[in-house]
């Protein structure tokens, strides 16, 4: 008898708290922000499987596949930050993956967004992301992970960006595979912070913004990435990984922030 009375009291308390919580959320008018992932080469919309692009080394190249993981989306408003602690796989061949909705963005005026390209060492493990066939095909093998700690789960590739290039216009195409990830256990992920083109005023409304990756930037700025020099397989090559990490800082930009 006594026990059940305590339980009902507890339930009442919990119920009251839940009510309170709802109440708080209610006075605040949360909205949403949908991120639309777009891809360009030299600011022109990406077309796959055609040799229309020219790398800074002069090679013509075509893009076959592009898949990458972004994580730790953070929204900023006057010194406050709001973290969406999860990762998202973007695959240009899977339209559903090209948009990500951040829900329950609290009321306020936001000035910027940041996210991590890839996954931090702390988050790069299998249980951090959904267990689907698509995510499993991003696994990074133990054999190329932290070999001093063979039991450590090496987690995921950050990116699989694949295509073909020709050293001169008549040469036979050769493969390139810009596979970025935690080579030998190094954390090669990086954070990108992008200011919104104008303030995003959230008050119960739904916003959209394009996050544009310019693929040409992986190959230039500050370093020229030479397909011929690094070869088609860079997963074991920490120097190549660091070039991608450096070049990655100018790969992303924002456009079309609207509440329509």
């Amino acid at each position: 008898m006594k026990w059940s009375r305590w339980t009902s009291l507890l339930l009442l308390l919990l119920g009251g708290m839940a009510f309170q919580a709802c109440h708080v959320v209610d006075s605040d008018k949360p909205g949403t922000l949908t991120l639309h992932f777009k891809h360009t080469v030299d600011d022109l919309q990406l077309h796959t499987d055609t040799f229309i692009y020219r790398a800074p080394t002069g090679y013509r190249y075509s893009v076959s596949n592009l898949r990458y993981i972004l994580s730790e989306f953070v929204l900023y408003k006057n010194g406050e930050s709001l973290l969406y602690n999860s990762g998202h796989l973007i695959d240009i061949r899977d339209t559903a993956s090209l948009a990500l909705k951040l829900n329950l963005v609290p009321e306020g005026s936001y000035d910027s967004i940041s996210f991590r390209f890839g996954l931090s060492a702390d988050n790069n493990h299998k249980s951090y992301l959904p267990n689907t066939v698509a995510y499993q095909s991003m696994y990074w093998p133990k054999q190329l992970g932290d070999t001093t700690d063979p039991l450590k789960d090496p987690g995921f590739h950050y990116m699989q960006y694949e295509g073909m290039y020709k050293t001169d216009d008549n040469a036979l195409p050769k493969p390139f595979n810009l596979h970025a990830g935690p080579t030998w256990g190094n954390d090669n992920s990086f954070v990108v912070t992008l200011p919104f083109p104008q303030k995003m005023h959230i008050k119960g409304n739904d916003w959209n913004v394009d996050i544009i990756m310019d693929l040409q930037e992986w190959l230039q700025n500050p370093h020229v990435f030479d397909f011929e020099y690094y070869g088609p397989a860079i997963m074991p090559n920490q120097a190549a990984q660091e070039i991608l990490r450096d070049n990655g800082s100018t790969v992303f930009r924002l456009a079309n922030l609207t509440d329509k």
């Binding site: 796959t48 499987d49 076959s64 596949n65 010194g79 406050e80 930050s81 709001l82 973290l83 969406y84 602690n85 999860s86 990762g87 998202h88 951040l102 829900n103 329950l104 609290p106 299998k126 992301l129 959904p130 267990n131 689907t132 066939v133 698509a134 995510y135 499993q136 095909s137 696994y139 093998p141 133990k142 054999q143 190329l144 699989q160 694949e162 295509g163 073909m164 036979l172 195409p173 050769k174 493969p175 390139f176 595979n177 088609p232 397989a233 997963m235 074991p236």
Partner: protein
Amino acid sequence: MKRFIEASFFGLIALFLISTPVLFSSCDKEEKVDPDQNDTLPPYKPTYVSLQIPEGFPIMEIPDDNPLTKEGIALGKKLFFDPILSGDSTQSCADCHKPEHSFSDDRRFSLGITGAIGTRQAPPIINAGWMKKLFWDGRVSSLEEQALHPVENPDEMAASWEEVVQRLQRHPTYPKLFYSAFGTTEITRYHVVKAIAQFERTLISGNSRFDLALQGKVFFTPLEQDGYDLFYSERGDCFHCHSGLLFTDNAFHNNALDSVPTDLGLEKITGKRSDRGKFKTPTLRNIEHTAPYMHDGRFATLEEVIDFYSEGLQYSPYADPLMKALPQGGKHFTPYEKKALLAFLKTLTDTSFLNNPDFLPE
């Protein structure tokens, strides 16, 4: 002052997905009453089942309109092994998808009931519940939809669904079995393929030596270990396409079998030149038992397959960039590397799958 809200939306989605199969096992759906139900039929009370998913395997999505039931699975199995589905009642699904070969065909091309010879090798049906695209060129998107095809394929079972459904309807036991699986005695082709798909979803293999080694229950031999390391290194580089615990990325690649592909593969479906010669990455589980290999069964042994990846790549502009040794014609493995790869591939054999009485005809 920083305010952190952890909105783990993916966690929620994952939770939802995980809980769906659980729902099937825990909730008894409302009893459906068949309008034409005659008095001798017991009430429709299917037993919902949830699958035992091996450790680390991805979430299997099961269509809402075809939850797994004990009755549906048993019916699907019976249909799978029953020649009643073919034009002259001589051929069952299992004639080309043989349980002892991990539900694949040991013949290069399957023989239909009319003596017609197909142009593709029958793939194994194993861990098929995770496949989003079926057939070598991925032309159908569910197991249910897939099962509609062989029955009417003139090179295969060469039947008509009307005829097959009538036969099942007239059969002494099938109407009762359909009733206990789907709550209706009025059989349609859609009930047939739903039952077959349910059975196919149970064909799960995740108990090979490889799995046991991963779980620390057995140890690889040094040769197997070297093959394992080769498979997952940039040197061997098999893991990008034969990825994850299913050993397939469920995607389409041209792995450089031909400089001029005769079977266009995915291109036939999409119409895109760049999809020429692309086929769905096959799983490597039970690969020791699914010879011959490739979409046209051109290789009789695993040794030939390894030789192909080592020395046999054919240059074409359609080859996948992941065939990184394309310009060199292959990886040029040493004889020891070849032996090691072979030993590793054989660790993917799951005898508990091959001998599972649930997967064998009664």
